[in-house]
């Protein structure tokens, strides 16, 4: 079963510390994320108010710093990402009990399109509720 992962599980895959099950899904299945989750991860890495990544990188040479930053900026081809042109028509057609925001509508639409389950590190009530309405498997991982 394909799986749509949130930014925390995406990070685990990119940083090579995913659970064995999730790692197997990447190597032998189909793993997707959404533009919204990808954006939240990439933007968090550039957060100046927390500056922790910058300070951790400070002692490394410039090439290494750039390689680490690029790793969070550019999604590897092994992880699928459905573009707006394709997913927006499905997002706006969703009918669920609660009003959806962009993050939730995209995750649910991508999961439906891929016939996937949704896996998150942090419970997301809006997505959990929508997934229940639409019959999409939802798991905390």
């Amino acid at each position: 079963l394909p799986v749509v992962v949130d930014e925390y599980l995406l990070f685990d895959l990119l940083a090579d510390r995913a659970s064995p099950d999730l790692r197997d899904e990447l190597d032998y299945g189909v793993v997707l994320t959404t533009g919204s989750w990808y954006y939240r991860l990439a933007r968090a890495a550039k957060s100046h108010s927390h500056g922790v990544l910058s300070s951790l990188l400070r002692d490394l040479d410039a090439d290494t710093q750039q390689r680490v930053r690029n790793h969070l900026d550019y999604l590897p081809a092994a992880i699928d990402l459905v573009g707006w042109r394709t997913v927006v028509p499905a997002m706006v057609a969703l009918r669920v009990r609660r009003n959806l925001n962009l993050l939730a509508a995209e995750a649910l639409a991508v999961a439906l399109m891929a016939g996937a389950e949704i896996a998150v590190r942090v419970d997301t009530p809006l997505i959990r509720s929508g997934a229940e309405d639409l019959g999409i498997p939802y798991r905390l991982g």
Binding site: P89, N101, A114
Partner: protein, 75 residues
């Protein structure tokens, strides 16, 4: 796992059309990758990322992003 039973016919049709477009556009694969993913990062580089997340900075930054923009909030 089929989700079609939970979808009304109009939504099912839109989703199927979007799915076909995504496959044609190469955005959605139906098969696993030919070779397992290999991280380009060294152990030292990975450790930097692990320390960043373990510090709580990722969670704090994401909470900030979600608080600033309801469209990107978890609830």
């Amino acid at each position: 796992v089929s989700t079609e039973l939970h979808l009304d016919p109009e939504l099912a049709e839109i989703v199927e059309r979007a799915r076909k477009r995504a496959i044609e556009a190469g955005e959605l694969r139906l098969q696993p990758p030919a070779t397992p993913y290999k991280s380009p990062l060294s152990d030292e580089e990975k450790a930097v990322l692990w320390n960043w997340v373990d510090s709580g900075a990722l969670a704090a930054a994401i909470a900030e992003i979600a608080a600033e923009d309801p469209e990107l909030a978890d609830d």
